[in-house]
């Protein structure tokens, strides 16, 4: 696999080629949405905003949609139940390294003992073209999480060298895509050093940081179950679930039925659910195992900083900053809570 350097124009040509030929499936890219950014179907390379700061929703929505039909059933005239598994071939352009890291956690969760076809029939065929994040949002602390760059989990990774683009090739698929396109030139060590400098400079732009090494978080949490920080910080929580809905690593869902109007059939769907909502852990006998908002707040902090790591080898937070940005009470950012615990407050 050979890294390459290509001009802005050639990169645009590469993207337009993908759109026209659909050789890697439907092309999704990062685009402007009002004065913010979001992933959506790409009609032309000119729509691409690789200079973006953060996408409103993480790209997980293409593999784990907000709402997804999983079964179709008929009860009349005959009793019939069929799985619904949408298979898609997608090429997603402009995924930030921390969002790639989040997808690796998703792969671990949705794989394992009971792999989920609804996830993998979309994920397996996906081409991921990443882009290094050079304009982090104020709440992002990816640099201190070590997720501002990634070495794997992508087919191609783009880095803006100012004039040209550095293309890090991360897979055989990415390699053959570049070779087939043919434009640009092989990257030299000088180019590689330029790329690394761009990355180092970008790392300095992060305004929020975790004041410890990420692997210290589990022990910090272990020592702080009773800490007043959870109650104090969650006092203003609206239990709205926004922090969960925007998070690239939140994997949980609810399952509901949607009967057709004639009641002779219908669909079963799953949709994103949030452990910050009051009923998430309520059972029919009347117990609610996380009835109070401080319990839910604490659970989320442990889930992000400890439980997922112990279960799947990936931390449940990649430091993207979305939760902190979307939280009206400004309490959701895990780094803020971990830093407070570390300071012993």
């Amino acid at each position: 696999m050979q890294n390459r350097v290509i001009s802005r124009q050639d990169l645009a040509g590469f993207v337009d080629d993908l759109i026209k030929t659909k050789s890697a499936g439907d092309v999704i890219g990062i685009k402007a949405q009002g004065n913010k950014f979001n992933f959506g179907p790409l009609k032309s390379a000119t729509e691409l905003r690789l200079d973006y700061d953060i996408s409103l929703l993480p790209p997980k929505k293409y593999f784990f949609p907000q709402q997804e039909t999983v079964l179709k059933y008929e009860v009349e005239p005959a009793f019939k139940v069929e799985p619904v598994v949408e298979e898609r071939m997608l090429c997603i352009i402009g995924v930030h390294p921390f969002d790639i890291r989040a997808l690796q956690l998703f792969d671990a969760v949705y794989g394992g003992n009971n792999p989920d076809p609804n996830y993998f029939l979309k994920r397996n065929n996906a081409t991921i073209i990443g882009v290094d994040c050079l304009n982090p949002i104020p709440k992002s602390f990816a640099a201190s999480m070590g997720t501002n760059t990634v070495e794997e989990g992508f087919d191609l990774m783009l880095t803006d060298l100012g004039g040209d683009w550095f293309v890090t090739v991360g897979s055989n698929r990415g390699d053959s895509m570049m070779k087939k396109y043919g434009k640009g030139r092989e990257a030299t060590n000088v180019d590689l050093e330029k790329r690394n400098k761009v990355r180092r400079d970008a790392a300095k732009k992060y305004k929020t940081s975790l004041k410890m090494k990420p692997d210290e978080i589990p022990a910090l949490l272990d020592a702080n179950w009773e800490s007043p920080v959870f109650k104090e910080r969650s006092a203003t929580c609206f239990s709205c679930g926004s922090c969960v809905m925007v998070c690239p690593t939140c994997v949980c869902f609810d399952v509901q039925d949607d009967p057709a109007l004639n009641l002779k059939g219908g669909e079963r769907y799953r949709r994103w659910d949030a452990c910050m909502l009051p009923g998430f852990a309520a059972v029919a006998s009347g117990e609610n195992f996380r009835e109070h908002k401080e319990q839910r707040f604490r659970h989320r902090m442990y889930r992000k900083g400890k439980y997922l790591l112990e279960r799947y080898k990936y931390l449940g937070c990649v430091g993207c900053g979305r939760c902190g940005t979307s939280c009206l009470a400004d309490i959701a950012l895990p780094a803020d809570t971990y830093n407070l615990l570390k300071e012993g407050k």
Binding site: F253, D254, G266, R270, E287, Y302
Partner: protein, 280 residues
């Protein structure tokens, strides 16, 4: 990462089963017997559960109450608690439902073999425990002394009355039951919470495993009694209830701290539960 999967492997796809018998157990509880359309067995272990689907209503986790020693069909005992369970109660013989599973770890049969057993069931905690008790009674030579304690709130809430009678008159089991309170004097048995039965039993703590299933409040008191009897923490086994939407370790609803109750549970030893916060 590429994993060869097909739609047929959907984690949401149930097998279709038909209700072949419904018996009322009390005002709020019924037991349903099911046979799969494809004629196959459920293949469960005592303590495992299934996700029952009524299409148009949803799914709910329900323990299998019959013993795997009973072949050809399986039973679910269900309290009408909400939308799915109430709807199930309106269904009769011939109705079809979806079944996913069996899920969960079930009771640790290998550990229990050859040991003395103390079953403690509170109310509908008897539903999951009945599967194990009947399994033990059907393979009685594999186990030591068996003691069963059953408690419910009032005589009206007693369930599986025939079964209770059989156990009561069995020479293979010491059976004691109690009710919390009585409305009149028609009840001649013990009155008092389930812990009041503990002084009446004689167990060898070295050889005994307690298997306790009931509502969360019961656990706190019963575990204290078991410890007082000298049982080790890993000789106390319990089954926990959580909200469960998938049964396969994905939806996240059943988390107890970092533990997924549908995967590592629902059966845990007290030694395990003790190290978890928010467990009972």
């Amino acid at each position: 990462m590429v994993m060869q999967l097909t739609a047929k492997q959907s984690i949401f796809l149930p097998r279709i089963a038909q209700i072949v018998r419904v018996d009322s157990l009390s005002d709020r509880e019924k037991v349903f017997e099911f046979v799969f359309d494809d004629g196959k067995e459920l293949g469960h272990k005592p303590g495992q559960f299934v996700e029952v689907s009524i299409f148009g209503v949803g799914e709910a986790p329900i323990s299998v109450t019959s013993s795997p020693t009973h072949k050809g069909s399986f039973e679910l005992a269900v309290r009408a608690a909400g939308s799915l369970t109430n709807h199930l109660h309106t269904l009769g013989k011939g109705a079809k439902v979806g079944i996913r599973g069996p899920f969960g770890n079930g009771f640790p049969l290998d550990t229990l073999k050859g040991q003395d057993l103390l079953f403690v069931a509170g109310g509908i905690g008897l539903f999951p425990l009945r599967s194990l008790i009947n399994y033990v009674m059907d393979t009685r030579q594999d186990f030591g002394e068996v003691t069963t304690l059953f408690g419910c709130r009032s005589p009206q809430e007693r369930i599986f009355l025939d079964q209770l009678d059989t156990w009561n008159s069995s020479k293979d089991m010491c059976f004691l039951e109690t009710v919390d309170r009585v409305p009149d004097d028609s009840w001649k048995g013990n009155v008092g919470v389930i812990t009041t039965l503990f002084p009446k039993i004689n167990i060898d703590p070295k050889k005994t495993y307690a298997i306790v299933v009931g509502p969360p409040v019961m656990y706190r008191f019963v575990i204290a009694e078991c410890l007082k009897k000298g049982l080790a923490e890993d000789h106390i086994i319990m089954s926990l209830e959580r909200r469960m939407k998938c049964g396969v370790g994905k939806c996240g609803h059943c988390q107890i701290n970092g533990v997924y109750c549908c995967q590592e549970g629902p059966v845990f030893t007290y030694a395990q539960v003790k190290s978890l916060k928010e467990a009972v």
